[in-house]
């Protein structure tokens, strides 16, 4: 039994490797992406400086200019890290019919794609997230804590990746019924960037929108790891709260996405592609 378990892990890593190589293959996209990040940071910097300059107080909605800047840059870095074209790739597989070949592998499609996405996200983490983090760390005058919070943040980031993947898979299911990959991917990106607080921090949302968002999985993807990283009170109960929130969403999203996916595949296998 022990032998089998080990090789299953090895199998997963071999899938991760496909993602890493795949992501590294697009060298051009890589540097453009990095440049895009820097432009984004600059734009966010001037935009929010103007907003804060127009405000009579230094603290708006409980956040200082520095807080807002750090939050937005890092939220966007997480968005870019997790945005590895999952929906687009799956939709493409469905439309081209290549999905049939993956369904004929002795590994569940979920694992094939998740393994691959993990690899791509690792590459994005190193080449996109870490540079953003370093830039904002020095730009903000080294106010981010460096300590145990980094460990919790990393755990949070891993769970965020799982939740994000499941969420993307749910969206990809629509592709079985519609015929546009690009549209679905764009729609998804708009919803995610807005509701996750990657453009405007959730603290700035009106109350009714805050309530709606609190019932959605996005805070578990973006807000939870960021609060663990940036939060002032480093009590373990705070970490516990956010981790539990993430575990909760992870279980829900895993269940929902697998259910939806298996149902969609069944529709394909009964009515043909």
């Amino acid at each position: 039994m022990a032998v089998k378990k080990k090789s299953r892990l090895k199998r997963f890593f071999s899938l991760t490797k496909t993602g890493i190589i795949r992501a590294l293959n697009f060298r051009g996209a890589f540097f453009i992406g990095l440049a895009g990040q820097i432009v984004f940071i600059i734009a966010i910097f001037f935009l929010w400086r103007a907003i804060y300059a127009a405000s009579p107080t230094e603290v708006v909605n409980g956040m200082t200019f520095k807080d807002t800047l750090i939050y937005l840059v890092l939220a966007n870095a997480i968005f870019n890290m997790t945005n590895v074209y999952i929906v687009y790739n799956i939709c493409d597989d469905i439309q081209s019919g290549k999905i049939v070949l993956d369904l004929l592998k002795p590994v569940h499609y979920f694992l094939i794609r998740f393994g691959e996405s993990c690899g791509m996200m690792m590459v994005q983490f190193i080449f996109s997230f870490i540079p953003s983090f370093i830039i904002i760390y020095f730009l903000s005058g080294q106010v981010i804590n460096i300590g145990i919070n980094l460990v919790f943040f990393f755990i949070g980031l891993v769970m965020a990746s799982v939740i994000n993947f499941c969420f993307n898979l749910c969206f990809a299911c629509f592709c079985f019924y519609t015929e546009s990959c690009w549209g679905i991917d764009t729609l998804k990106n708009c919803i995610v960037t807005l509701l996750s607080g990657a453009v405007i921090p959730i603290a700035f949302f009106p109350d009714w929108l805050k309530t709606i968002v609190s019932f959605l999985p996005f805070p578990a993807i973006f807000n939870a790891p960021l609060q663990m990283l940036l939060g002032d009170n480093t009590s373990f109960s705070t970490y516990g709260y956010y981790l539990l929130l993430q575990v909760f969403w992870m279980i829900i999203m895993l269940a929902v996405s697998l259910l939806l996916w298996n149902k969609s595949v069944k529709a394909l296998t009964i009515n043909g592609g």
Partner: protein
């Protein structure tokens, strides 16, 4: 010995939306409940023994791919029973996957962005192939097609022929019991086709793998299959050895004639001459109903079913009527027989 593939009264129906024309029609289609039922596969019965190479033939849209998809478990049959290696492929697709290999000629199961050897390594982990089997197979592949040269090549940079070759190797890598090849030689040049046929044949012999092959290239069939199954409009119309195929659909042979005094450069005149000859032969041998004539460069071809009229008799009869300068007799090819079957039913 038990059959490794067993299809018992298998049928598949699809629900198809009746689409309307134009923009208004397309809008209507969004809400339409106007479906019709299409019988893609109708009551198919096949049993295949381990180690057989079976050609699965039929014109475009005959239901070949649908049947293959049912055999691999990606489509659920509407009725009937499918058993591959003793299991129902639809119910236990992932379990069955370890025992089958698939090649779809126009798609690749390899990773586009990866060098070939990395794709093989991933497959090794996916199928839990042990080191011994993996190394032995790679060594064998290398002896057969010298695949080592391609190890570091990215799959997306390969030519279609190289890719197909590698796809076939990938399908055989985990020593599957059954391999499904869906048009493996599509779009390949003559020498690549020959190489791929040779490879399939050798792998089948060495590993006793059952191979199901669909193709439109009769060269594939002649080179690989001892047995063929023909399906048309979802119905199975033939299941027997390839030798019996010719007997089954009549003993056709082609008599090629060169007539003196004809202007060979004038195609119209040649056609008329062929037509005339067909006329006089049919007048003399009214039982030869399926006799056809054609023009092939300088030759006039008469295709004769020898069960209706003997070729020798027709030849001696014609020898009296027209001036024949040269003669050739041709056995009809599998291709022409199959063509005849498709056309007759169309």
């Amino acid at each position: 010995m038990d059959p490794i593939i067993k299809l018992c009264n298998v049928s598949k129906e699809f629900k198809v939306l009746n689409r309307h024309q134009g923009i208004l029609g397309s809008v209507k289609d969004l809400f339409s409940r106007d479906y019709s039922i299409v019988n893609a596969v109708n009551n198919v019965n096949v049993e295949i023994m381990p180690g057989e190479v079976v050609g699965y033939l039929g014109p475009n849209g005959a239901g070949k791919s649908t049947t293959i998809k049912m055999m691999t478990g990606v489509l659920k049959p509407t009725s009937g029973e499918v058993l591959i290696n003793g299991v129902d492929p639809f119910k236990s697709r992932e379990k069955l996957a370890e025992n089958i290999g698939v090649v779809f000629g126009q798609r690749t199961q390899l990773w586009w962005a990866l060098p070939l050897i990395e794709s093989f390594k991933v497959l090794k982990e996916m199928y839990f192939i042990d080191d011994d089997t993996y190394n032995t197979n790679l060594k064998l592949f290398n002896e057969l097609v010298g695949v080592e040269k391609l190890y570091s090549k990215l799959v997306r940079q390969m030519s279609l022929g190289q890719r197909t070759l590698c796809d076939i190797l990938a399908a055989f890598l985990h020593d599957p019991k059954v391999v499904f090849l869906d048009e493996p030689t599509i779009g390949l040049d003559v020498s690549m086709k020959a190489q791929i046929r040779e490879l399939i044949l050798t792998l089948n012999e060495k590993k006793n793998t059952t191979v199901i092959l669909t193709t439109h290239d009769m060269g594939d069939v002649d080179a690989l299959c001892k047995r063929i199954v023909i399906i048309d409009k979802g119905t199975q119309i033939y299941d027997d050895s390839i030798e019996n195929l010719q007997g089954f659909f009549g003993k056709y042979r082609t008599l090629k004639l060169m007539i003196s005094g004809e202007d060979y450069s004038d195609e119209e005149a040649m056609k008329k001459c062929a037509h005339d000859i067909e006329g006089i032969v049919k007048a003399e041998f009214p039982q030869a109903v399926s006799l056809t004539s054609a023009v092939d460069e300088h030759w006039i071809d008469l295709t004769i079913n020898e069960e209706e009229a003997q070729l020798m008799k027709i030849m001696s009869f014609l020898n009296e009527k027209v001036k024949i300068t040269d003669v050739k007799i041709q056995e009809i090819s599998t291709e022409n027989v199959i063509k005849g079957i498709y056309e007759r039913r169309g």
